[in-house]
Amino acid sequence: MSTLQEMAEAVICGNAKKVKEIAEKVLSEGIAPQTIINDGLIAGMNVVGVKFKNNEVYVPEVLIAARAMHAGMDVVKPLLSASEVQDKGIVLIGTVKGDLHDIGKNLVRMMLEGAGYKVIDVGVDVSPEKFVQAVEEHKPQIVGLSALLTTTMVNMKSTIELLESHPVKVMIGGAPVTQKFADEIGADAYAPDAATAVELADKLLA
């Protein structure tokens, strides 16, 4: 097994200490930071995403894998010069107005980061106006909206309406959300789970 494969395995197992050690070791051997990110950290999180989607691993395993990935990123990312930073794209995500639930949104954030996206997380209870303000500030290609409740998912519609004049794709998800609802309110994509959110983000930017 190559050292970067070993790193990916350590991400999958959520072994933050080992990921950090390998990151330091491969850097000292002269492997490029972007290669470490792509072939070690992102490669590991990709496997976690698939396993999570297939109910082979669960939320705790995803959380510790994301933590391990970040332990590696913290070592490697500062060494990337600005021109080398190759984010796949920028995704701005938040839970809509009236809703304080965040575990689903956070899992999507971790999966997107694990797939190489830069994620701007604007938090919970985010009004349509705040989404627009954040979009103008961060210029994402994709906006992700989350809601847990049938009573708050209606705020996705008002957010999409307010974002209409902005050049962004909108992806939505959350417990009561369906493809039918996404179609009705004019969302560009509906993700039933966090791993699918990554696949859809890739498609939206293709």
Binding site: V59, L63, G98, H101, T150
Partner: protein
């Protein structure tokens, strides 16, 4: 057949005259806004005192159950007398577990977990609730006895909390931190789970000492499921939750030997239904209809081992349409009612986005379509 006979037949896996209507429980009641809308619509005047504060649902008026002809009545614990709920700000109260609950658009959500940075030795110092505070059970024995002796309804002890190990762990510690603790710091996690277990048993002790002999069903509750599957792996459930769930159920069995144990968990929990049955769950609620939790398949696989309670999809916004509402009622009864062993209930709280006429229609339709033996007749 009266209501109690109807419920007892169903929970003993026999077909009653029609499916019993179960409404008012831990997971199948109403948010405050929906509750007041419905009371108003039904013309029920005069308020009852809130039995708790800051939660999504805080009121319970049995007259709603009378108006909807539900077959069950409830007794539930009330607020502590010695430790009144403390208001932190306009929208936030500190519950008696020491966790802030913030109300937003009518929903109480736990925030600012107090044990976020705690170590194992800090657990003992946290200001824990006193299950035996006399305010919690004042008048409950008489209320339960009156329901038992002067009504023909089945009597249910509502769970003292709507939550157990995973939720309280998450609310006290922070959800992500607690779920990581389960893998990375098992010593801390188990110490916290043991504390939650002690308190839960204390609450059931206080409650069932008063009402245990009068009740037909005792409710318990915890959420293990997401839309797609379990929150934690089946193995982790078996390691950390199942033995503690058994301890609670064994205790309830001692305190209320005549009662069936109902257990609530939202979400797609099919992989652990057998485990729940093994540790003494008699009635499973709410059978939330989901791609990995198909009510027909659950009935086929587990219907002879556990009574199913719930099924009506409360995430389906189509229920606002009278035609789709009737379709939903017919579908769930078709999927779940055959041979008995089914209690009709919404699969989560009624929310204010469901029109009050639909709430009333929901139960009227269940009575209409839930009659047994129609085909043979």
């Amino acid at each position: 057949m009266n209501s109690r006979e109807r419920v007892l037949a169903a929970i003993n896996h026999k077909e009653p005259d029609r499916v019993p209507l179960y409404f008012g429980g831990t997971s199948s009641f109403m948010t405050d806004e929906a509750y007041f809308q419905l009371k108003d619509y039904l013309g029920i005047t005069g308020d009852v005192e809130a039995y708790r504060e800051g939660h999504t649902g805080n009121y319970f008026d049995q007259r709603i159950l009378e108006a909807l002809d539900a077959d069950v009545r409830f007794v539930h614990m009330k607020k502590a007398a010695a430790t009144p709920v403390r208001r932190i700000d306009e929208n936030t109260v500190l519950c008696d577990w020491g966790v802030p609950i913030r109300k937003i658009d009518g929903y109480g959500v736990r925030v600012d977990p107090p044990l976020a940075h705690a170590t194992k030795s800090d657990i003992a110092c946290h200001p824990w609730p006193d299950p035996y505070d006399p305010g919690r059970t004042a008048g409950l024995a008489l209320a339960a006895r009156t329901l038992r002796e002067q009504t023909d309804k089945a009597v249910v002890a509502r769970s003292p909390q709507s939550a157990s190990f995973l939720e309280y762990g998450a609310w006290l510690r922070g959800m992500e931190q607690f779920l990581m603790d389960l893998l990375l710091d098992r010593g801390f996690a188990e110490a916290l789970l043991d504390k939650i277990l002690d308190l839960q048993i204390g609450f059931y002790d206080a409650l069932l000492t008063e009402v245990g002999r009068y009740v037909d069903i005792v409710e318990t509750a915890e959420d293990y499921g997401t839309q797609n599957g379990l929150l934690i792996s089946p193995q982790l459930f078996r390691d950390i939750i199942k033995p503690r769930r058994k301890a609670i159920n064994d205790f309830i069995r001692k305190k209320a030997p005549g009662a069936k144990i109902l257990h609530h968990s939202c979400g797609a929990i099919e992989p652990i239904i057998t485990d729940l049955v093994e540790v003494g769950v008699d009635i499973l609620n709410p059978v939330q209809p989901l791609p990995n939790m198909n009510p027909s398949e659950i009935k086929k696989k587990y219907g002879d081992k556990v009574v199913l309670c719930g099924g009506v999809d409360m995430q389906n916004t189509g229920l606002q349409d009278p035609y789709l509402l009737e379709q939903e009622v017919v579908l769930r009864i078709e999927q779940l009612a055959s041979g008995g062993g089914y209690l009709f209930a919404p699969s989560n709280h009624i929310q204010p986005d469901l029109p009050t006429r639909s709430v009333v229609a929901l139960f009227a339709l269940a009575k209409k379509h839930g009659v047994y033996g129609r085909n043979e007749a």
